[in-house]
C-alpha cells in the first residue's frame, strides 16, 4: 500500500511538472520555449546540396566539409534567419550538406547566398585582350590574387559623393602579391571576377579599375550598388566555400551541376498554419471519440484510462518541448497514432482483468493477474513497433525527406511512454481505487456477476 502511495506521489509530481512546463506552451523551461516545429508546419525551406570534393585530398575532406558548414552557417546568420540547421552528410564517400531554413520567405535569395562561389578573383588582360587570372609569387609559389587573402573585416564606406565603397585589407600573403602585381600593372586595368562572371556595378558594366599606384595593405572597390556591396561584404566576411556545391548528374563520366540542389522543398507559412489548425481539429475529434468509447465500454477502468491518457498526452508534449523534438506533420500523425495505440496497453490489461473477474477472482486479484498476464503481450507486441521505428529512422537519414524521421521519432517516444503509463500509472490508480474500496460494484468494471 505505501509503495502505491509513493508511486502516486511520483506520478503526480511528474504530471505536475509536465503540466507546468507546457501550460502555457511558451513558458521558458530550461531555456526552451514553445514547441519546435518542422518546416512543413511553420513554413520554410529545405535544401540539400552535394559537394564536389574531387579536387580535395581524401584525408582532408571531412575537415573541409566542416569548414563549408561553418561558412554556410555564418552566411545564413548574416541573412538574419532564426535557428537554421546545417548538417553535413557523408554517404558512400559522397558528401552532401543539408540546410533547413525555417520561416524564410525568399528562397531564391537564400539559395544565392548558399550556393554562390564567393571567391573574388583578380584578373588582367593578356595580349589578345582575354581576362586571365593575375598571379604573383609568395613563399616561392606562384599564386592567383583573390579574396582568399582578404582579412575577414571587409566593410562598406561612402565616398564624398555618397557612393558606396567596399573596403578590404590584405593578409600577409595578399600584401606580398598585391605589391608585386599592382607594381607591375600601373596604368592598366585590373578585372574583378566572381566565379566566371565579372563583378558588375550599379550601371551593369564590369568593374575593372585602373591601377594608379602600388597597393600593399588595403584596397577598395568602387561602383557597386549599395545592396550588392553589402551582400558582397557579408559573403567575404563569412568566408569562402572551398568546394563547389550543386549536384551530380548521372552519365559517363558523371557531371557536376553547380548551384542546383539535389533536393529543394519550400513550404508556404500559410499552409503550415493551416496544417496545424487541421491537425488540432482532427486530434480533438479523434481523441474525444476514443475517450467516449473507453468510458462507455470499460466504465470505471475506462475512466481511469481516460485520466491516464490525459496525463500521457501532457507528459508527451513536455518531452517534445524539452528534448526538443522537431514536430513535423507526419510527426503529429505519429503522435496521434501513438495515443490510439497507447490505449492498446490499457485495453489489453482491462480485457484480461475482465476475464479474470468473470473467472471468479476477487477484484484485487483480478487486477494483479490481469496486469501480469497482459505484460508479456504488451512487451512483445510493442517491440515490433520499435523495430519498425528504428528502421524508419535509418531510412529517413538516407533520404531528402526529413519528415520520415519525424514520424519514426514521435511514434517511438509515444509507444515507449505508453508502455510506461499503462504499467505504472494505470496500475497504481487501479490499485489505489480498489484498495480504497470506494467502488465494489462489479457493473462498474463492466462485468455481470
Amino acid at each position: 500500500m505505501s509503495r502505491n502511495i509513493y508511486l502516486l506521489i511520483f506520478i503526480l509530481a511528474l504530471f505536475g511538472f509536465a503540466l507546468w512546463s507546457v501550460v502555457p506552451l511558451d513558458r521558458n523551461v530550461f531555456g526552451r520555449q514553445g514547441l519546435r516545429l518542422g518546416l512543413d508546419l511553420q513554413g520554410g525551406s529545405y535544401l540539400v546540396y552535394e559537394a564536389d570534393v574531387t579536387a580535395i585530398d581524401t584525408a582532408n575532406r571531412d575537415e573541409i566539409m566542416e569548414g563549408v558548414k561553418g561558412v554556410i552557417e555564418r552566411r545564413i546568420n548574416a541573412l538574419g534567419i532564426a535557428e537554421p540547421i546545417v548538417a553535413v552528410q557523408k554517404q558512400e564517400g559522397e558528401y552532401s550538406i543539408a540546410i533547413q531554413l525555417p520561416g524564410i520567405a525568399d528562397i531564391e535569395r537564400a539559395k544565392e547566398m548558399v550556393g554562390r562561389v564567393s571567391l573574388l578573383e583578380f584578373r588582367e588582360q593578356d595580349e589578345e585582350g582575354n581576362w586571365i587570372p593575375t598571379t604573383g609569387t609568395a613563399d616561392g609559389e606562384e599564386l592567383v590574387l583573390s579574396s582568399k587573402y582578404f582579412k575577414e573585416n571587409t566593410y562598406i564606406d561612402v565616398d564624398q559623393f555618397g557612393r558606396p565603397l567596399l573596403i578590404f585589407e590584405w593578409d600577409e600573403t595578399g600584401q606580398e602579391l598585391s605589391q608585386q602585381i599592382t607594381g607591375r600593372l600601373i596604368g592598366e586595368q585590373l578585372g574583378i571576377y566572381l566565379g566566371d562572371e565579372p563583378l558588375r556595378g550599379e550601371d551593369g558594366h564590369a568593374i575593372a579599375p585602373v591601377v594608379r599606384e602600388t597597393i600593399r595593405d588595403r584596397g577598395q572597390i568602387e561602383g557597386l550598388s549599395l545592396v550588392d556591396a553589402e551582400e558582397l561584404s557579408r559573403l567575404l566576411n563569412a568566408g569562402r566555400i572551398p568546394v563547389p556545391l550543386g549536384r551530380w548528374v548521372e552519365g559517363e563520366p558523371k557531371v557536376f551541376e553547380p548551384e542546383i540542389p539535389l533536393y529543394e522543398r519550400t513550404v508556404d507559412a500559410t499552409l503550415g498554419a493551416d496544417s496545424i489548425e487541421k491537425s488540432i481539429l482532427a486530434a480533438g475529434i479523434g481523441i474525444a471519440l476514443l475517450l467516449l468509447f473507453m468510458l462507455l465500454y470499460y466504465r470505471l477502468p475506462g475512466l481511469v484510462a481516460c485520466l491516464t491518457l490525459g496525463m500521457y498526452g501532457v507528459v508527451l508534449l513536455a518531452i517534445f518541448k524539452l528534448v526538443p523534438v522537431t514536430l513535423t506533420l507526419p510527426g503529429v500523425a505519429g503522435f496521434i497514432l501513438s495515443v490510439g495505440m497507447a490505449v492498446d496497453a490499457n485495453v489489453l490489461i482491462f480485457e484480461r482483468t475482465k476475464e479474470e473477474l468473470r473467472g471468479g477472482r476477487s477484484l484485487g486479484a483480478a487486477v494483479e493477474t490481469g496486469f501480469n498476464r497482459a505484460w508479456t503481450a504488451i512487451r512483445d507486441s510493442n517491440i515490433t513497433t520499435f523495430i519498425a521505428c528504428i528502421i524508419l529512422f535509418w531510412l529517413g537519414g538516407t533520404l531528402g525527406a526529413f519528415m520520415v524521421r519525424g514520424f519514426a521519432l514521435t511514434l517511438f517516444i509515444g509507444v515507449a511512454l505508453s508502455m510506461f503509463t499503462a504499467i505504472v500509472i494505470t496500475r497504481t490508480f487501479l490499485r489505489l481505487l480498489i484498495g480504497s474500496q470506494v467502488v465494489t460494484n462489479m457493473a462498474a468494471y463492466g462485468v455481470k456477476r
Binding site: 468509447f293 500523425a333 533520404l399
Partner: protein, 303 residues
C-alpha cells in the same frame, strides 16, 4: 463460440482474391512513382476560387505539361507532379494557370528532387521493407523460442505481413490508376508503420495461443487456436477501433499533405487486424495439421 478455424478456407479465398486483383492491377497499371522515387518537381497549388480538376488538366496539357500527374487534394488544392522545373519557373506556371482559369493560384508547397536520387531512394525503401520483415521474423522466432518450432510461428507472421503489404500496394496501384495517387517516401513510412502494427496484433494473438498451449486447454491445436482467437477478439477489435477513431479523424480533417499517408495507416490497421485473426493464426493450424490443400483457394474441404 465463433468458429474461426472452420471458416479458414473462406478467409484464404477472400485474401487470394484481393491479392490477385492487386497483382493484376500492378501488372496492368503499375504504380505511379512520386517525386521521391521518380525525381522531378511536385507542388501543391491552391486555387481560390477553386477550379475543376478537368479544367486544370486541360490547361496544363495546353501549356505542354500533358504528362503531369494531377491529384485532387480537396479544398481547391491540387498536387501536381511534373518533370523538373525550377522554383522560379514553377511560380510563372502558377501565375499563368491562375490567369487562364480565372482564379488565383498559389504554390503552397514546392518540392524538387533530383532524378538521380530517386532510384537510390526506391532501393533504400525496398531494403527497409525487407530488413523490417527479416527483423520481425527473427524477433518472433526469439520471442517464441520456448515453443516447439519457433520458426514456424515467425514464418506464419511474416506471411501475414507480406499479405498486408501486397494488398495495400495493390490498392494504391488501383488508386494510382483511378485518381492519380502517387507513391512516395511517406507511403513507405506508412507501410512500415503498418508492418509494425500488423505484427503487433499477431504477437498479441500468438502470445495467447502460447499461453493456452502451455495450459493444455485442449488436446486439439485447432481448438486451442480458436479459443485464443475468441479470447483476444475483444482486445483486437477495441484496439483497432480506438486506433481507427483517431486515424479516421486525421483522414477526414487532417488536411491535404498527409491525406494519403493516413490512408495507408487506415487501410493497414484494418487489413493488419484482419490478417492477424484470419491469416497468420489459421496458417499455424494448417501447418500443424499439414492441411496444405486448405491454402489452395478453391480446393474442396478436407475436413
Amino acid at each position: 463460440m465463433i468458429d474461426f478455424i472452420g471458416k479458414k478456407q473462406w478467409f484464404f479465398r477472400i485474401s487470394a482474391i484481393l491479392i490477385v486483383v492487386g497483382i493484376i492491377s500492378l501488372a496492368v497499371f503499375g504504380i505511379k512513382p512520386g517525386t521521391d522515387f521518380a525525381g522531378g518537381t511536385s507542388m501543391t497549388l491552391q486555387f481560390s476560387p477553386p477550379v475543376e480538376q478537368s479544367q486544370l488538366r486541360e490547361e496544363m496539357a495546353k501549356l505542354g505539361y500533358d504528362k503531369a500527374t494531377i491529384q485532387n487534394a480537396g479544398g481547391g488544392n491540387f498536387i501536381i507532379h511534373v518533370s523538373e522545373i525550377t522554383s522560379g519557373k514553377a511560380r510563372e506556371l502558377a501565375e499563368t494557370l491562375g490567369t487562364e482559369l480565372d482564379s488565383q493560384a498559389r504554390i503552397t508547397d514546392y518540392y524538387l528532387a533530383s532524378p538521380r536520387v530517386g532510384a537510390e531512394t526506391a532501393r533504400n525503401a525496398g531494403i527497409a521493407v525487407i530488413i523490417a520483415a527479416v527483423a520481425m521474423l527473427f524477433y518472433i522466432v526469439w520471442a517464441f523460442r520456448r515453443m516447439p518450432k519457433p520458426f514456424r510461428w515467425g514464418t506464419c507472421a511474416i506471411i501475414a505481413l507480406v499479405h498486408d503489404v501486397f494488398i495495400i500496394v495493390g490498392i494504391f496501384s488501383l488508386l494510382g490508376w483511378l485518381a492519380g495517387v502517387e507513391i512516395d517516401a511517406m507511403f513507405i513510412t506508412g507501410l512500415l508503420a503498418v508492418v509494425g502494427y500488423s505484427i503487433n496484433n499477431t504477437v498479441v494473438i500468438f502470445d495467447r495461443i502460447r499461453e493456452n498451449v502451455s495450459k493444455h486447454i485442449s488436446p486439439d491445436f485447432a481448438e486451442t487456436v480458436n479459443n485464443s482467437l475468441v479470447e483476444t477478439l475483444g482486445r483486437c477489435a477495441n484496439t483497432a477501433l480506438t486506433t481507427l477513431f483517431v486515424l479516421l479523424a486525421l483522414f477526414l480533417f487532417g488536411g491535404a499533405t498527409i491525406h494519403y499517408f493516413v490512408l495507408v495507416l487506415l487501410l493497414g490497421v484494418i487489413i493488419g487486424t484482419y490478417s492477424s485473426i484470419c491469416i497468420s493464426s489459421q496458417l499455424l493450424v494448417v501447418w500443424e495439421k499439414r492441411e496444405w490443400r486448405a491454402i489452395l483457394p478453391f480446393a474442396k474441404r478436407t475436413a
